[in-house]
Symmetry: C2
Subunit: 604 residues, 2 copies
Amino acid sequence: MRQSFDEHADSSFGQRHLPRIRQAMAEQGLDGFLVPHEDEYQNEYLPAANDRLAWATGFTGSAGAAVILKDRAAVFVDGRYTLQVRDQVDQSLFELQDLVDGGVPAWLESRLGQGQKIGFDPRLHSPEALERLKAAAARAGAELLPVEDNPVDRAWGAERPAQPKAPVVPHPLEYAGEASASKRARVGRSLAEAGADAAVITAPASIAWLFNIRGGDVIRSPLPLSQAVLNADGTARLFLDPDKVTPELPAWLGNQVTLEPPEALAGALQALGGRRVLVDPGQSSAWYFGVLQGAGAQVVRGQDPCALPRACKNPTELEGARSAHRRDGAALTRFLHWVATEAQASLPDEREIVARLEHFREQTGVLKDLSFDTIAGAGANGAIVHYRPTTHRIRQVQPGELLLVDSGAQYLDGTTDVTRTLAIGEPSAEMRHRYTLVLKGHLALGRARFPQGTSGQMLDALARAPLWAAGLDYDHGTGHGVGSYLGVHEGPQRIAKAGQPVPLRPGMIVSNEPGYYKTGAYGIRIENLQFVTEAEEVEGGERPMLGFETLTLAPYDRRLINEILLSDEEREQVNAYHARVLAEIGPQLEPEVLAWLEAACEPL
Amino acid sequence: MRQSFDEHADSSFGQRHLPRIRQAMAEQGLDGFLVPHEDEYQNEYLPAANDRLAWATGFTGSAGAAVILKDRAAVFVDGRYTLQVRDQVDQSLFELQDLVDGGVPAWLESRLGQGQKIGFDPRLHSPEALERLKAAAARAGAELLPVEDNPVDRAWGAERPAQPKAPVVPHPLEYAGEASASKRARVGRSLAEAGADAAVITAPASIAWLFNIRGGDVIRSPLPLSQAVLNADGTARLFLDPDKVTPELPAWLGNQVTLEPPEALAGALQALGGRRVLVDPGQSSAWYFGVLQGAGAQVVRGQDPCALPRACKNPTELEGARSAHRRDGAALTRFLHWVATEAQASLPDEREIVARLEHFREQTGVLKDLSFDTIAGAGANGAIVHYRPTTHRIRQVQPGELLLVDSGAQYLDGTTDVTRTLAIGEPSAEMRHRYTLVLKGHLALGRARFPQGTSGQMLDALARAPLWAAGLDYDHGTGHGVGSYLGVHEGPQRIAKAGQPVPLRPGMIVSNEPGYYKTGAYGIRIENLQFVTEAEEVEGGERPMLGFETLTLAPYDRRLINEILLSDEEREQVNAYHARVLAEIGPQLEPEVLAWLEAACEPL
């Protein structure tokens, strides 16, 4: 089974590891050291070898930081992790602090003393974050010093897992849809327009997209950890551990791309002295800025030039996404059938639920990986937005409860991400009311039509308005971008209250996932992936509009829909969607499941 | 009659005035001069004496700029004014250019030559705009030079109207609701929190609000043109032409406010040397920054500290707004009755329509001014979003046309702004369809409930979604803030696709005015004012929500509503609103108008 239910860190980690880190700090003459969650790749998921925060403190959340001083230390987490951090971190060793309100800078300003020297690893911090940290330390009279030899790594020593060396393979044109040479030429031209001669590309997803390659260094996503320099003429240098280079790779990359070992990177950056080099401060750490500026390059700060072209899927990628979702929808439908029948009596626990869904996906025969660890939240666990079942928290579902299942798969032709909320036994009137409100928002966003230039931020309220009207809301975004056999969370677009608005463009895949969470009781989320299309013209329409085509194919749980709350338009939208699910998924199913799906998709 | 139908400038202005401006430029050794629309107060409306752009070019729009060189000149306008500018500006003298796309900086960069000296009046440019202009000129090898003696003013000479000297009077506490001393103490504390010792206040609306005074220097708004310095301890210096000081004013201002002539301003700024002074670069021109920096003050750039407290109306102001809208609603209802009866046969022209509405408002006996020139757009004129009837464009309404009337009034207790679109004769099915879509958006925004922190930008799509679904949209914002017996357009909040998001807070008044415009045929806009309230709790609601209370009281034209397109919720919303209009306006009306209103407000 792919998914594990273990935690790879626990609250004993601090006791065991903190003295060793302090010893390494002392050897380097440091009074303190900064330990961000981020690694060298500023990526969402970390290989085990780079999860320094977990090793130092025990905390395994997806965002956070620690500061270790000689005589005190603190762990910083955001609102999502305030409960989890108390389980995972030994509070006799670490103060727990809010990552957002004041955060690390405020703590440094109030805790550091005159003349103290605090180390940081410049490969792990974005230049903007570092500016704020340096200013805060300076106000306390202390100084932040870059260190070459990270004391956490030194303390970790031989116990540290090896860096991942997953083979890097070609991603064939039948899935990618555009040759790397064409992508490099296109992005190269955009560099010239941005006033740059070259760009440093460090986001693993951008490297995978640009060179049409895939790797496996990071769990749940086929990312090749590496770096590249792209020139405006479309030529490039790709820095990749030789152990990861598969035999077919050099020919696949062609003669416009030189393949070099990671050790050559610093020299390649230094060779950019005197040239204008685009670097994304949101993707590339302060180390890149330091090396380039030291070499006399003119650094142009701007968005990763692959981010927008990568987000706008080409027709081949969209056809692949449709195909992946038809396949994944059949697997999910078998799972939904199992939940609606056998599981109603056997009342499985979350581990069995996760295993059963993974089994159906594995049966496709082409599953490359999950796209993230399945969230199966039974009852009160469903109300924990970032829940992942781990051994000590696993619950068995009970009659009268809701089961929230958020899951996804990686296939060569596409990445899926889907959430369904399911009734076990008889749902309460309140559950049906809340579910229907969430569904109304989900439907409103699904059928939205909007002019060019509209950002996801401008559409977010459409998904929330039915909940707002009832005095309810949810504390997460409504939608995120999704890669094509790449990361399941991908920018730059999103549908949310906050964030830099990016206009939605044809081909962008976004999730549509409003929710409702009742702490200690149940959680509801309904999620489909959909992509931006040019909307069909309507009679009398005067302006071209954009709209969405839904990718995800799986029925909503009709036992949770209170039909009285739906407008005619909403009812027809559900019926049309269910008819499409039946038409596209039905032919893949065995008779018993098909019969169930037919009933599940009957018109409301 | 208050409203005039004349233009105060025409296309002969360039021929008559350009040579005189060039003469004045030559006397000062300038190769060119920048003429922005903005005056010394960076205010929306200008006194005639400060409408330099109109005097120089003939163009009277509310935004724009000109550049005058020795041998060529250009006028820059945005998309709203591309037609108007061709009527008003002599194209043998001025190139017409787009204000937004490239704008003045791009033109300077391509047209200026090495070593040229271009003058500008530092009192008329925001520091940000000036930076861009200076950079563009520098790229062409030219230089921008500040001039003390504006060559347009010099050329204008004795023909220039006098600066307005309207008396400045106390705005009594029964309308203001909070004493100036309390406001000054409150804003003063916010200065301390923003790290400033003092603030320069130049927005006339902020001065009026802060000191509880009103003037009349600018048509359609009771603004006192003046400047002030507010100290963190709540004391202030107010710089006001002695001719405008009414006898009761010094006592009203009290002993914490010193009243000084405008000539003392520069010295007062210089006296701030060494202190931290908050200045709003969106409100105060580059001149203030120059004088303060020259004096060694530490300039803190930030929003006008009165902007947010001014926008959040206190209970007295809200009660005043309700009262003003009940009064104004009765006047408007008499007008609507006239349009629905007499005017259907007499087919008045736009001038008569404007006059009739003004007459009903004048009859209240307490009208201080219109809040802007009434837009009465008959037929195709209704499709011109920023239409104002002027002599040569006035149309008579015709059967089968729509009449769009956007108007407002200034009363001591409040400022109104309302748009109704009315059928003359029998409207077409298309008109009713479009009107109903606009109404659906207007209703959705009116009934919106939303959590704290929500900006108008996040709600804008609610008003557009019904039009978007039909392939339609409108090219203006959905809502603007409104002052309390102050400007009818007031920030910082707005409801629009663009702009800096500002969370909506209780007490903020905003307009709700979606529209639809069919060029050459008709325009539709429906506008109410509404203010942000804490929404009533609903059963099962878990979070406090904000919502809106509608201020404007006047029926929608039911002949334009296609009921089939309304949901039950929308129909009930219209009926509840109409019942409220009848209850609050009815008792003020004479029997004939009341009978009409009763019919107009019958449930759909």
